[in-house]
């Protein structure tokens, strides 16, 4: 199944995983996976969110240990207990979050773990020489090792990260979505470096969502789906269409409420050529009363910025936002929730943005709507208690007592608290940022039903999800974003997984 490296025809695979499984609680992240990769080759791993790619590399890098299965490196069995052990064996991983210290120089960062020393003190000249050598190895001679990492462009930081990784002399280099934050030109540079490293005999494993990038660099591709290794093929062995098919290929597991026939609702929220920094570009969007509009695309294409921007969190936005046909100025969440706009945002991370974890369920439920329960300066405790009870009933939140800390609830119930909190403000425009991430199927279903019910009561909903199934099952319309733009709007029958994925990967543009 594995591709053969261009240079060493008969060499056995360098890393071999056999029968590897990993479970998190009841969730199976990897299911009896066999996988291997070779020296002197770039191996791409493809898959949707939650396909098991990250777990695979975490096992190889010693971050997590498999429940079953074994691994060999250069023919010898290995079981890494922690990342340092993997590093010592020659497997070095570059994760999505950079591990560079921003205020230290490039040279300091490259040598941070074990700097060259003289008389016990760091020998800055030797350190600089070493850093220059590493940078030269990846063809980045133009980065001055004295520069602070903070002063480097994101793409250069990524290269310094690679230099730091190879200064550990790896035989296997793993990149986890290392190009997701980079522009096309920078991606080309990173690829150039990867090819050089491959030619020097290193085995490179890369995870990316961007199909055309994989086309450009990979020698071998493996597709994962639902924790299973579906297929491994050599570069060019499969068409894009076939690959997309392999990535989807599963049955719809959730049940969605029926969609009403398409109707032309009155416009509720209109967004006109909205822009912010270089993250949002010329976005036009219309949400009608009673409509659920989905927001799709790969992670980090501006969806989060669009949602929090509409909610008044971003300063210096360009363009215009209209509610009920009237231009509104969204300066803060406090302004966005006020009468006349009546907006609500279910934020991305409920632990840091949605909830005050140590506070009680009741306090969390009422924090956004306290003014409604106030008489003069005082809060009416009876009205508050009733509202809390109603909120818990409406969302069917399973709790012991409303005085318990919200941190004691399960993830699904916590998310229900966040939603119930906003329902108390009786919002007309509801923005949701991936509200079903990391919660159980039952709660997901309740959320789908609720959204449809809210829409039928006349609310307008903008729903960002990383799960394409949800977008298909729930939304009347889906806007797909790429690189800060809405690249396509799908409606009715056109909302298919295939269409969403091809828009998300921006295949149309890449083909040009």
């Amino acid at each position: 199944m594995t591709g053969t490296p261009p240079s060493e025809q008969a060499a056995p695979p360098h890393v071999v995983l056999t029968g590897v499984s990993k479970h998190y609680g009841g969730v199976t992240a990897l299911d009896n996976v066999d996988f291997s990769c070779d020296l002197g080759s770039i191996h791409a791993v493809l898959g949707e969110n939650g396909a098991g790619k990250s777990t695979l590399i975490k096992i190889m890098a010693g971050v997590v240990q498999p429940d079953e299965g074994s691994m060999t490196l250069a023919g010898k069995p290995q079981a890494f207990r922690h990342p340092a052990a993997a590093n010592a064996a020659g497997i070095v991983c570059i994760f999505q979050e950079l591990s560079l210290v921003p205020d230290l120089s490039v040279a300091d960062n490259i040598c941070i773990a074990d700097p060259p020393r003289r008389f016990g003190l760091i020998d800055s000249r030797a350190q600089r020489r070493h850093a220059e050598e590493m940078l030269a190895r990846i063809g980045c001679e133009d980065v001055n090792p004295l520069t602070r990492v903070r002063d480097l462009a994101l793409s250069r930081r990524q290269m310094v990260e690679i230099a730091k990784a190879i200064s550990k002399d790896p035989t296997v280099l793993i990149l986890d979505e290392a190009t997701s934050a980079l522009t096309a030109a920078d991606v080309d540079r990173v690829f150039e470096i990867l090819r050089r490293l491959r030619d020097s005999g290193i085995s490179i494993l890369t995870i990316s969502h961007r199909m055309h990038e994989i086309d450009a660099v990979a020698d071998t591709c493996s597709v994962f789906r639902n924790g299973r290794h579906i297929e491994t093929f050599k570069q060019g062995g499969r068409s894009e269409k076939e690959i997309v098919q392999m990535m989807i290929g599963r049955e719809i597991s959730a049940h969605f409420p029926p969609k009403p026939p398409p109707k032309v609702g009155e416009p509720l929220l209109e967004v006109r050529s909205l822009g912010w920094e270089n993250r949002l570009k010329e976005i036009d969007l219309l949400i009608g009363r009673g409509e659920i509009v989905g927001l799709g695309g790969l992670d980090g294409q501006g969806q989060k910025e669009l949602l929090i921007g509409l909610f008044g969190v971003l300063k210096g936005m360009r363009g215009e936002v209209r509610v009920d046909g009237k231009s509104v100025s969204l300066t803060s969440p406090n302004a966005a929730k006020k009468a006349g706009i009546d907006m609500a945002l279910i934020p991305e991370d409920r632990k840091t943005e949605g909830l005050m974890l140590p506070m009680s369920i009741a306090d969390n439920l009422t924090i956004a709507s306290l003014e409604q329960f106030s008489r003069g300066p005082l809060v009416d405790p009876a009205a508050l208690d009733k509202a809390v009870e109603d909120g818990i009933d409406r969302m069917q939140i399973k709790i012991g007592s409303s005085g318990d800390a919200v941190s004691t609830l399960s993830g699904g119930n916590q998310q229900k608290v966040v939603i119930a909190k906003w329902l108390m403000t009786e919002p007309r425009i509801i923005l949701l940022n991936d509200p079903t991430r990391g919660i159980d199927v039952g709660t997901k279903q309740e959320i789908y039903l609720l959204l449809r019910a809210l829409a039928e009561e006349g609310a307008g909903i903008l729903f960002y999800s990383t799960d394409y199934e949800e977008l298909i099952g729930c939304c009347d319309r889906v806007a797909v974003m790429y690189d800060g733009r809405v690249v396509s709007e799908l409606e009715g029958e056109a909302i298919t997984e295939e269409n969403i994925i091809s828009s998300a990967l921006n295949l149309a543009e890449a083909a040009q």
């Binding site: 909610f311 840091t352 943005e353 005050m356 974890l357 306090d363």
Partner: protein, 330 residues
């Protein structure tokens, strides 16, 4: 210190013994008060043959002196709940006292309060809008206030005297109860209502817990921060005005002795130094603890040196007990 028995790993405890994490410091501090009273009484019994500490007159007198600290601590608690701190309290107290006595007449008390409020609002603006760490900004404001007052008074105790009303509030008694104590009680009731019965109180806790979540819930976070600092400054102003009435005049450095005890009282009472958690009852008990500790130390004729050491040690000890616990359970 064997009174600090309940460890915070409440999950493994049988339900009967489970004490909510919020109330545990209050119980510990209350227990410590009993220890102080017992030790002090044992001392007076052995040296003077009388239980001075336990006489109601003596206790009321101590609490009267303690009410100034109590008012300062109430204000301080608001900013600590936000996860901030106000180090400008010493010279806010002195400035309010000096301005109140300088103006005199019926305007004296309003001027004292207004000075405190103004300083507090400036602190709040620096923290909420410029987002300068409150520790540093209020330290700078304290220096500026000191500079202004030194320039204003020429570095000497001002000759102006406190008005009769100020003196009455600070030293008079109604039915044997000191008026200052009643002022403190009024402030305390205001605090309890503010923290438990108003949206502002809930917002303060929310910001102290997770400012980002509070902001995204549409809480006007900046306004609340400015308001809390304003109230803290006003409390210091009130304390300064009363203190001037108590000693009939204002003097240099009159607020210096209130900063550390006020922070200590709040922290000892179980308010988390990083904000978000704590009950006013705890602060009340913390103030009483410090006041009684002070009384006992002065009965024992403990020099200033010993007091400083004991204050510092008590804060660290209490923080070690609560601080570690909360970190583990988080």
């Amino acid at each position: 210190m064997d009174t600090i028995a309940p460890k915070p790993d409440t999950a493994t405890r049988p339900p009967l013994l489970r004490i909510s994490q919020e109330n545990q410091p209050i119980l510990v501090a209350a227990g410590f008060i009993l220890v102080i009273l017992a030790v002090g009484t044992a001392y007076t019994l052995s040296t003077q043959g009388s239980a001075t500490l336990l006489s109601p007159t003596y206790l009321l007198q101590q609490l009267q002196v303690g009410s100034f600290l109590g008012i300062v601590a109430a204000g301080m608690m608001l900013v600590i709940l936000l996860g901030h701190i106000d180090l400008s309290v010493p010279w806010t107290i002195a400035a309010a006292a000096m301005m109140a006595t300088a103006v005199g007449g019926p305007a004296a008390i309003p001027v004292g309060l207004a000075v405190g409020l103004t300083v507090g609002l400036v602190n709040g603006m620096g923290v909420a809008y410029l987002r300068i760490p409150s520790m540093i900004f209020t330290l700078g404001v304290n220096a500026v206030m000191r500079g202004l007052m030194v320039a204003h008074t020429g570095g000497f105790a001002p000759q102006t005297a406190a008005t009769d009303l100020m003196q009455w509030l600070a030293v008079a008694k109604i039915f044997g109860i000191p008026v200052a104590l009643l002022v403190w009680a009024t402030v305390s009731i205001g605090m309890v209502v503010l923290l438990n019965r108003t949206s502002v109180g809930k917002y303060i806790y929310a910001i102290g817990n997770k400012e980002a979540a509070a902001y995204l819930a549409g809480v006007p976070t900046r306004g609340i921060i400015v308001l809390a600092f304003g109230l803290c400054g006003m409390a210091a102003g009130l304390a300064g005005t009363l203190l001037a009435g108590y000693s009939t005049k204002a003097y240099q450095g009159m607020g210096d002795a209130y900063l550390l005890p006020a922070i200590a009282a709040v922290v000892i009472g179980g308010t988390h130094i990083l904000g978000g958690r704590g009950r006013y009852l705890g602060t009340l008990i913390g103030v009483i603890l410090i006041v009684l500790l002070n009384s006992v130390l002065s009965i024992m004729q403990m020099p200033e040196a010993g007091r400083q050491v004991i204050y510092g040690s008590v804060i660290i000890l209490m923080l070690l007990v609560y601080g570690r616990g909360t970190k583990i359970t988080q």
